[in-house]
């Protein structure tokens, strides 16, 4: 068995042990957003000929898959600073590449689970979408990018406390500005170009196009793919620098 599968297997075994807690926590946030913004605030809002709920759900999938993939940083921090299991990986003949791949794929798994939960909730709420291979490819690339960034941040920070800063200053603003809750066309012109190149914005646009109109821009997927490669390389370097 390859090294990355060993790292991935550990995460999956832990995941299995906490499956009910995880499913519950994965469902709470999207449910709250759907009720608050979709059914509560957005009842009478129509965007591009679609109901606000239809507009919101693809964005919510982008944002939630981002959050869940990035959340591997918490698990890595626990294994690094508290359980010291990261040292078991460092002492083993597993390359940085394999370690990074194993951790990132566990983040992607989390992201897909969260995506399927939102899709199930949407289905129960009577919302129908076009779903195809490219929809899930975009989710995969988005999750891969943010799991890589989660791994990088976990390697760069020096304590648990620093982690909250990264989430508060990068992830949370991106979630609110990256096309999740409102169209980015409404943003002020000085900030718009910057927001448009964020991976979350690109993913939101792609998922929304596919889900609502069954179309998407190839270039968006190519950009996501390139960002995923760059993020992975950065993650590899961050592991190298994590030795004291």
């Amino acid at each position: 068995m390859k090294g990355f599968l060993a790292v991935y297997l550990r995460e999956i075994l832990l995941f299995k042990k906490r499956i009910f807690r995880i499913l519950l926590s994965f469902s709470i946030n999207p449910l709250l957003y759907l009720f608050a913004f979709g059914i509560g605030l957005g009842k009478n809002i129509v965007i591009g000929g679609k109901s606000y709920l239809e507009f919101l759900i693809p964005g919510l999938i982008s944002a939630t898959s981002m959050m869940q993939a990035f959340a591997i940083n918490v698990e890595i921090n626990i294994s690094r600073f508290y359980l010291k299991i990261f040292e078991e990986f460092q002492a083993s003949p597993v390359s940085h590449f394999s370690y990074a791949l194993g951790e990132i794929l566990s983040g992607v798994t989390r992201a897909f689970l969260a995506t399927f939960i939102i899709l199930a909730i949407s289905f129960l709420a009577g919302v129908k979408f076009h779903l195809n291979f490219y929809f899930f490819l975009a989710v995969f690339l988005n999750a891969f990018i943010f799991a890589s960034l989660g791994l990088t941040s976990a390697m760069l920070i020096k304590s648990h406390a620093d982690q909250a800063l990264v989430t508060n200053f990068i992830i949370t603003p991106m979630m609110f500005l990256g096309g999740t809750f409102f169209p980015t066309e409404n943003l002020p012109s000085f900030i718009k170009p910057f927001i448009e190149i964020l991976p979350l914005t690109i993913t939101s646009h792609t998922l929304r196009s596919i889900a609502l109109y069954n179309s998407f821009k190839n270039s968006y997927l190519i950009i996501l793919f390139l960002i995923a490669i760059i993020s992975f390389i950065i993650a590899l370097y961050s592991i190298k620098g994590s030795k004291d």
């Binding site: 297997l9 040292e87 002492a91 083993s92």
Partner: protein
């Protein structure tokens, strides 16, 4: 072909605020149990971490079975097993799952992993606890899991970093026989400890490390006999002063002399005496 398992050459480790290792050199022969003895903060764990690939040295070289350790990191890691000072097991997972993941990390075939887990659980007397979560085990049992985890891939060099720290004396003694049995299978062992008695019982050779420098290397027996066979402790008002003698009669003569004014006791010399003697000289 040399029979040197590990050769550490002039290792220096500088941290921003401290020079942790000041040019450490030593060699360990194949199948030898070599102990690094020193007080807390002497640099024992830093050496172990560097050999295990967890910390980079500032300078120096290490050879593992004649291969440069830093130039062959993946190969070196596959030859080394490490038992750290702290219990770094997955507490939510079972004993068996922890061993399984270790086997996969070392790229062992699944059939071998299954056989090896059964074998090691038997040796460590943990067969009945294989489905127990780590968090349900006592400290002694967790330490046993740590050791057998390090043995999963049959390492040629086993690094034991204070493996019995915090254990009750009777459990510590059980560990000693466990470690001796591992050595008997042909494994070379590097042990760090600050329990002098442990090193005296287990080690073929001992190195004293103090403030990042190795100050002496010898067998426990030679260390002791070079100092003397008998120790006379004289309890002064502010400290205990020890005098060492080769001959028992000579020691008893001195005992009579000192016993007039002080409380005194006569005993065999131990490795601790040797260590304290070196520390006194090096302070």
């Amino acid at each position: 072909m040399s029979n040197i398992a590990l050769k550490v050459e002039n290792i220096v480790k500088k941290y921003p605020s401290i020079l942790a290792l000041k040019g450490v050199s030593f060699e360990i022969k194949e199948k030898e149990l070599f102990a690094l003895l020193g007080p807390n903060g002497a640099g024992k764990t830093t050496i172990i971490r560097i050999i295990a690939g967890l910390t980079n040295p500032t300078s120096g070289k290490i050879y593992l079975f004649e291969k440069n350790l830093f130039e062959n990191p993946i190969w070196s890691k596959s030859q080394i097993g490490i038992v750290p000072q702290y219990i770094n097991l997955d507490v939510e997972l079972t004993v068996e799952e922890n061993l399984l993941i270790h086997g996969f990390l070392y790229k062992l075939p699944f059939s071998f992993i299954k056989k090896r887990i059964a074998e090691l659980l038997e040796i460590a007397d943990l067969k009945e606890r294989k489905k127990s979560k780590i968090k349900e085990l006592s400290e002694g049992l967790k330490r046993r899991v740590l050791i057998i985890r390090a043995l999963m891939h049959k390492p040629k060099l086993l690094l034991l970093d204070e493996p019995t720290i915090g254990l009750d004396p009777h459990i510590r003694r059980k560990f000693w026989s466990f470690i001796k049995n591992i050595q008997a299978t042909g494994t070379t062992i590097l042990l760090t400890t600050h329990y002098m008695e442990e090193a005296e019982h287990l080690a073929d050779r001992v190195a004293f490390i103090f403030s990042g420098k190795i100050i002496a290397i010898n067998t426990p027996q030679n260390f002791i006999s070079n100092l003397g066979n008998y120790a006379l402790d004289v309890y002064l008002s502010d400290r205990v002063k020890s005098y060492y003698f080769k001959d028992k009669l000579e020691a008893e003569k001195e005992l009579l002399k000192y016993s007039k004014d002080h409380f005194v006791s006569l005993r065999r010399v131990s490795l601790e005496d040797v260590f304290l003697n070196y520390i006194e000289k090096n302070l």
